[in-house]
Subunit: 398 residues, 2 copies
Amino acid sequence: MSGSVSYRFSQRLSHVPASFLGELFRVSSQPDVISFAGGLPDANRFDVEGIRSASEEVFAQEGKTALQYSTTDGYLPLRTYIASRYRSRLGLNADPEDIQIVNGSQQCLDLVAKILVDPGDHVLIERPGYLGAIEAFSYYEPVFDPVQALDGLIGPDPDSVRGLVTDNSPVLWYGIPNSQNPSGMTWSPGIRREIADILDGTDTLLYEDDAFGELFFDGRPREPVKKSLPHQTIMTGSFSKTISPGLRCGWIWAPHPVIEEFNRAKQAADLHSNLLSQMILTRYLETTDIDRRIWETARVYEERCHLMEEIIDDRFPAGTHRTSPEGGMFLMVTLPSGIDSMDVFRQGVSNGVAVMPGSPFYIDRGGGNTIRLNFSTVDLNLITEGMERLSQVIKSLK
Amino acid sequence: MSGSVSYRFSQRLSHVPASFLGELFRVSSQPDVISFAGGLPDANRFDVEGIRSASEEVFAQEGKTALQYSTTDGYLPLRTYIASRYRSRLGLNADPEDIQIVNGSQQCLDLVAKILVDPGDHVLIERPGYLGAIEAFSYYEPVFDPVQALDGLIGPDPDSVRGLVTDNSPVLWYGIPNSQNPSGMTWSPGIRREIADILDGTDTLLYEDDAFGELFFDGRPREPVKKSLPHQTIMTGSFSKTISPGLRCGWIWAPHPVIEEFNRAKQAADLHSNLLSQMILTRYLETTDIDRRIWETARVYEERCHLMEEIIDDRFPAGTHRTSPEGGMFLMVTLPSGIDSMDVFRQGVSNGVAVMPGSPFYIDRGGGNTIRLNFSTVDLNLITEGMERLSQVIKSLK
């Protein structure tokens, strides 16, 4: 019996925070719960027919190739598409050789930490920071240095970044400048320039996670920090929020010495990403007006976000604060002090509404009265109903 | 310019052997080279039409689900299929809850080492050992203990295993009992029982990599070591050799405490595997006589293996030895002493034939006169032509 077997696990597991995401996913899947807890794009926005049609062409024309082993770096026409989109959308000069395909951009978090982070190395991360990054990095046992946001939520505090870079010589500074998860905050152009200036010439690399850069409500791209700091910036992107997460197609674009080590690590980790999906996606991108579709999706999310903001402003108790996302899928609420967001989570589930408590995003255990709300998954009617339930729960806890 | 930027990489990279696989893949792709160097299944055996048809049904019936985020453990109907196949083929009582889907079984190597191996921990591995395992494990800085095969090539030497387990208390003993890569060796039933007895009650886990167990030429399954050592054995499998590697669908079946930590690590590494492919594969498996197709593939490979063996026996110089695979995709040749297999590789490529030098499979730097030959990729005519070229190269080096 397994009870008599002693399993020896690696010491590194003691550095990994207990995960909340599995429980969240289960809760989010209950049919009677309106969930603002997850981070799913709206499946009604998936172009099932367009992707099916692309799939049909791949099978008809290159079936054997699609089903065979492939190279670690990824399908070249897809990497070429990504490079040319960086050029056309953002004026960035990307070489397809410096872009690699991964299983969703989450895999970049794991592999970048694997090639860069030794136990005890310092890693800067926003406060609150993306939970998927905290979990992925933790296996490599860094010391996290949280970077507070500036008042007004226009980006991380440059003075704080400057001090931490000077004092701790971090190997990495991980941030999400566009519509951050969880806060919804977008870095201002001025903050971007300051961060680039601070890092320039140090041996700290910037990890610019751009999962949401295509989903600004105004459709206007923001200039990446990488433009000012090309040789020190690792940039990652994803088709999960714009086209489909089930295909698990993300990418990394990094300076060549970093990409070379990343490639070796990716080969050892899983040889290469699913080729069929890379080929379907490429065919789909080549034959679809993707800009129009993404813009429509962003408008749908904007409407939902604004409705949620209105209800918070109208119905939540005095002393509530919230962020004002310019895009993406999340906003963050700070509840009046004294309200514990874990109580909101538990009471919420009992009352048919799920939220994500904010504290797991705070590596220094703050944020106990914050919650993250997702506005991309459910429609306006369910937002109205769910937010009503939520406001009742919060009032009952006050 | 990037020349002026100093990149700080993790110390762990110094433990990773320089990879030969990228160069091999490039060489294997040259159209004028007949390659026995790679490890590709024959693409002509892929059931493109069957998989296309399964894909069509998934898009028609569950398109939105297939394109959305999913759970880390993998698509339950696929895990249920794998469990029931363990029962029907091997008489093993597998619980779908203890099975997880990965991006090809290579990913298991990375994540198992991640949850089990601390720097300096001992890991037993066959000599020669699977290169993909050596590369994946190396990132976690183990001390490898090579296990010599018994004379007669009926499995690893039990006395050697006993001594290493007692002296070094390895955290893991990694082996491929069925048609090993690179040697083609299959462990005998007696050796399997001895290995299970030696490990039983120790805190060493067996990692039983079963990539080739369905591809025995006689179609007869061999009893896994896991049957005798259920609570100490991690078993992995793959659809890459039997159906399609491009779909990147493999799995791990492990004792529950191990699966729980594996799941956390998989979530941090890439959230979950490609869902579309998991659903296509499940639909395909449910509607196809898979046993017949796999059996036909094994017979094709058998014919190729036997032709290769004949040519080696007839045309290679005296003092050549080879293994006698019972299945799988590889055989191994020991050339007369004095012939360096790196010379065979280089001269071979110049003469239109590629082989895999054996030395990268030897973690103690032996095997300098061995080569691995793949017999699954090319047809009988090309085997005849390529082996003729190879015998000329070897004779010229003698």
